[in-house]
Point group: C2
Chain length 268, copies 2
């Protein structure tokens, strides 16, 4: 457990440093300051770290996944910012988050994060043989699908419907599962698959890591309203996918099935 | 003039058809219906058409630029939707646009348009030699820069500041020019440069078409508050860049320096 925790902490630190360079405050300062602030104000999901870990698990180098990891956080941060805007047709989030800027600046700043995410990925092609370009384009399709109208946007839409009905709909486990699968599940599945693609994994490795990521995302996302049995089932399904890999290598990545491991990395 | 108008009308029709396929209504309908609506509710800029025309001018085929053209419209439509959301720190746009959906649905639907734009581009790589992949990645960097924190987002930020000061700031020509250059200017410059890149243009052709696009965008964007002399100067600067190209080929594209040509194409 301690070994796994220090592994995730080391990946997290590298992603933070990469993001810090990507959103470094420069002219025009009035635009970059909120960009920097909102990038780091958003809650960290494990999806970017999972992207890096999956890349390493299939034999890739950490730096090969760093742009994708940063891109995943930037898109999550953009959505997080927009989900917490005060809008006339509410509902306003409870508890309300601290807003360092007004709604208009938060809205347009987050609008700049998504193109930046794809720009970072596009710029990360440093391979003159052209092999990496194909992988980067494939990763962009993966991300587009995971965060688009059949992915996270669908999850946000359903979540909005539930919240608008004042929580009545949220009591139905079906809705909660659906939203969680589309949001946290989809983002983590995408992160793991992208890492495996960038690290040069084969199709089976990519699909197994995608399923591992999906289940990990469901565990991370379902903070409440889920039975102990439900979590154990998700853990079992996640770990089953790792049996395919070299057992000497899976110990570090497998720790992520414990929600508390990621929580501890974040609270350090 | 008539010849140029029919050229732009033909490009426009092809882009509309490409967009129609990209946002075709499919399950989940409740998410795709607003996506389809908001894609076509947004005002059409000439930037996507200019992308296609630039591709053809440098000797490329129309279909090589179609994904980039659609991507440019989708990002513009996303920003257009977000700029017209009613937010608590206003200002609300005048005249107010018709809202077919509530603010939350408009907000999240537009959030899905930007990843879709990049996904379309990533999917457009159909070249097994790998040559196109490099061009697509370069185009993504161009788009990221044009619509990001040093481009359209900066323009939107300044415009918001001006509007918040109740139009007082807007009287200063410097501000209007700055916003117009960052928004319409930058988008059209990007469109033209991307078309030239995708069509296989050389560096000089790319830079000349970028400048042509910048000036065309400034003409298209400055609907009011600009002197006749100002527009004539922009036209001259735009046309000067076209002198470098085969004079038999530039007639159609050069018509775009007349704001009314694009307007007529849109009103047909």
């Amino acid at each position: 457990m301690a070994q796994s925790q220090s592994y995730w902490a080391s990946i997290s630190a590298d992603i933070e440093a990469h993001l810090e360079r990507a959103v470094q405050i420069r002219p025009p300062h009035s635009v970059f300051e909120p960009l920097h602030h909102l990038t780091f104000a958003a809650k960290r999901t494990a999806a970017p770290a999972l992207c890096v870990a999956a890349c390493e698990l299939v034999g890739g180098r950490r730096d090969q996944a760093m742009a994708a990891a940063s891109a995943l956080h930037l898109i999550h941060a953009a959505f997080y910012t927009h989900e917490n805007l005060p809008l006339t047709d509410g509902p306003n989030p409870k508890p309300q988050i601290h807003h360092a800027y007004g709604p208009n600046v938060e809205l347009l700043t987050a609008d700049g994060m998504v193109p930046l995410a794809f720009e970072l990925l596009a710029r990360s092609d440093d391979d003159p043989t052209g092999e990496k370009a194909g992988r980067i384009l494939r990763v962009m399709v993966e991300i587009g699908r995971a965060v688009g109208s059949q992915g996270a946007i669908d999850g946000r839409y359903r979540e909005f419907l539930c919240a608008q009905s004042d929580g009545k709909e949220m009591g139905q486990v079906g809705w909660v599962d659906y939203v969680c699968e589309k949001k946290e599940g989809g983002l983590h599945a995408c992160g793991a698959a992208c890492g495996a693609i960038l690290g040069g994994g084969n199709e089976e490795e990519i699909e197994r890591l995608r399923k591992f990521g999906l289940n990990v995302g469901m565990i991370q996302g379902r903070v409440k309203g889920v039975s102990r049995n439900g979590v154990e089932m998700l853990k079992d399904m996640a770990l089953k996918e790792l049996e395919h890999f070299d057992s000497n290598k899976v110990e570090e990545i497998s720790g992520l099935v414990e929600a508390k491991v990621w929580k501890k990395v974040q609270n350090k």
